[in-house]
Symmetry: C2
């Protein structure tokens, strides 16, 4: 399971656990400007009595091209920009799923979970249902397990849910959202409250009617 330390992947961990899986978390250090994500991923796994996430380092800075890894300003207070946002990281979910596939193949696992969803999509091409389906197809052509007839499934249980639905689902499963981190541009460990990710999170808690445990700077 791909785990970022954010709200969505924490919810997916809880869903998979309640469905009877024993999730093995993979988390990535890809030169993010906020190492706080990695700490959140560890705290979320610990809170669910799961093993510590396996950390894979990959240097997306060598590839470049995103406000999340380069020195591009994260946009604030701009809800209606058209097209793909500058915070899009090239081929990120393709890379993450490729590592998960390699790890699954070695571990003998047939189920890979990812927390992408339609709301987080907001212009990211690699968060769409057709992307997930295409990766599952690739996985079954690319691997020993797929070739030998033991298919690999890519699970994206949040893909059709709104942020509010995700939060309600996770709350019902006991997810402690205070441990999760969403902000693209935190200051002194606190969420900015203004980037796309903070805006989505805030509105999600409001719409869900669930108290938001996040400490925002404004």
């Amino acid at each position: 399971m791909l785990v970022s330390g954010g709200l969505d992947s924490a919810t997916v961990l809880a869903i998979a656990k309640s469905d009877g899986y024993l999730p093995h978390a993979l988390t990535f250090d890809y030169g993010q400007r906020h190492n706080i994500e990695l700490q959140a991923a560890k705290a979320v796994c610990a809170s669910m009595d799961l093993p510590e996430p396996k950390l894979i380092r990959l240097d997306l800075r060598a590839v470049g091209g995103s406000a999340l890894t380069d020195d591009i300003d994260v946009p604030k207070d701009e809800p209606d920009r058209p097209g793909i946002p500058v915070t899009y990281v090239p081929a990120r979910n393709t890379l993450f799923l490729s590592y998960a596939l390699a790890y699954a193949e070695v571990a003998g696992a047939h189920d890979i979970f990812i927390g992408v969803n339609a709301v987080d999509y907001s212009g990211y091409p690699d968060c769409r249902p057709e992307f997930v389906a295409a990766f599952e197809r690739l996985a079954n052509l690319a691997t020993r397990e797929g070739v030998e007839g033991r298919p690999i499934h890519i699970h994206a249980p949040l893909i059709e849910l709104t942020k509010a639905e995700i939060i309600r689902r996770g709350s019902a499963l006991g997810v402690d959202y205070a441990l999760t981190h969403s902000c693209y541009d935190p200051v002194d460990g606190k969420a900015c409250g203004r980037c796309d990710s903070c805006r989505l999170r805030r509105k999600g808690f409001e719409a869900a009617g669930v108290p938001d445990p996040t400490v925002y700077t404004e």
Copy 2:
């Protein structure tokens, strides 16, 4: 273009260059036991007046599961083993192509070249035409360029060629195969002559009627 320092990717570089492309080589340090591959990749690019390969480090040892990255013995003198060989690296070409996709997207490139072929396949699931086609489909769903209607093509010009045909093609294009490296288990920088990769290479030169410049230890 994915470049390993081997015979196949050297040939692909020459083909792409003769077709009018300006190849940008990507090479990977994935905890191989033989760093010599990386030196060969540099020498091959220099011999064709191409820029030095861009090196991406990825730790497949963290994932494990292959004789090429783990402490498993490389098989020798065993031409007829059935199934997928132990030298198969889990999801390797999926990972390599994912990085190439990220780099292409940032660079504004629409053509990715990979030197897989049917002979090298010999049981590797991620060297088959259907794998390449599935990755191309994924690439056009995963990226800004694909979504916005400027399709990405995955070129695998060797995929239907025998090793002898590859060598003849490359020789005609002036590839200096003495610079390339194929052996899975080199000793003091020399090819062992007995692993699967050496056996294929040797037989390829013989069948092509081209002198083999490789120095084998036996």
